[in-house]
Symmetry: C2
Subunit: 146 residues, 2 copies
DNA sequence: TTAATACCTGAACCTGACTTCAGGTCAATA
DNA sequence: TATTGACCTGAAGTCAGGTTCAGGTATTAA
């Protein structure tokens, strides 16, 4: 069992944020001892899930919904599973998106490397849009396909 | 050459957002014809870069900085290159983070699959934290490390 | 000629996710 | 006993990134 200050240190989350999460209903079953919040292993696991769902792009409202489902027991297994299946898609799509972002970034890294070596952008910009070295062309095309 | 409305359609970005970007200085060299914005291929490419930098986690202020560097010419090649090198790290780190998020999500997908099959969480929660099937254990451990 | 459409502006408004503030309780230490 | 430190609250404030609004211009279509 932990106090809010200990949890704040362990997870490196400000105390104010933990209180905010509580206020927003993200710890629906948290106990208190004369007003003071008691974080148990259950709340620590909930915090990991909050973190996961937040990173997966869910907003606080939706996370509260999920936590409510959790405290409603068996009857909500299907909803909870559906949520994770959906977030799996979402995160996979987000990773794919970032890979394309990375293609553009890698192209730009190459571009400035050339420009710096040449002292100007003449040569390199004349290779656009389809006379780039094969590897770079691939990056460029992936970054510029709609 | 395109009007704001055409660009809005092409990139599926609201007109209000394009005007907001302009107001924030993200198109430092955009021309106008009697008050009306003229988007050329240069602005379209800038828009792709804005998109890329936004997805890579940069805020508008920093993107404006970058665009200013661009219109300052050769003297800023090094800064621009450094920016892309940094964003490369950032995005690679973000992808790695999302992969760990995905581990947690995959674990939860499995968890609810079991719970639904069993009709309760008894069996599956008794496997925690280290008696899970090997593949699942890996996901769980990665999601719970730290 | 009038009406619709696409553009323009500055200013105000909105949303999500926190953070800060002012004021209060309580337990332990100096 | 008094002060320190960790906790508490509700309400207000902040910030980024847009969006909406009210009012105006310019071009084309009926």
């Amino acid at each position: 069992m932990y106090t809010i200050g200990q949890v704040s240190e362990m997870f490196r989350i400000p105390v104010s944020t933990l209180r905010y999460y509580d206020r927003e209903g993200l710890f629906p079953d948290m106990r208190r001892s004369s007003g003071i919040r008691i974080f148990t292993d259950r709340e620590l696991e909930q915090l990991r899930v909050i973190d996961c769902l937040k990173k997966s792009g869910l907003e606080i409202r939706a996370i509260r919904q999920f936590m409510e489902w959790c405290s409603q027991g068996k009857s909500t297994y299907a909803q909870r599973q559906a949520l994770f299946l959906k977030q799996k898609e979402t995160v996979e799509a987000e990773i794919a998106r970032l890979e394309r972002t990375l293609d553009m970034i890698r192209f730009k890294c190459w571009y400035y490397e050339q420009a710096i070596a040449d002292g100007n952008e003449e040569r390199v910009s004349e290779m656009l849009p389809d006379k780039l070295p094969p590897e770079i062309q691939t990056l460029y095309d992936r970054a510029h396909q709609e």
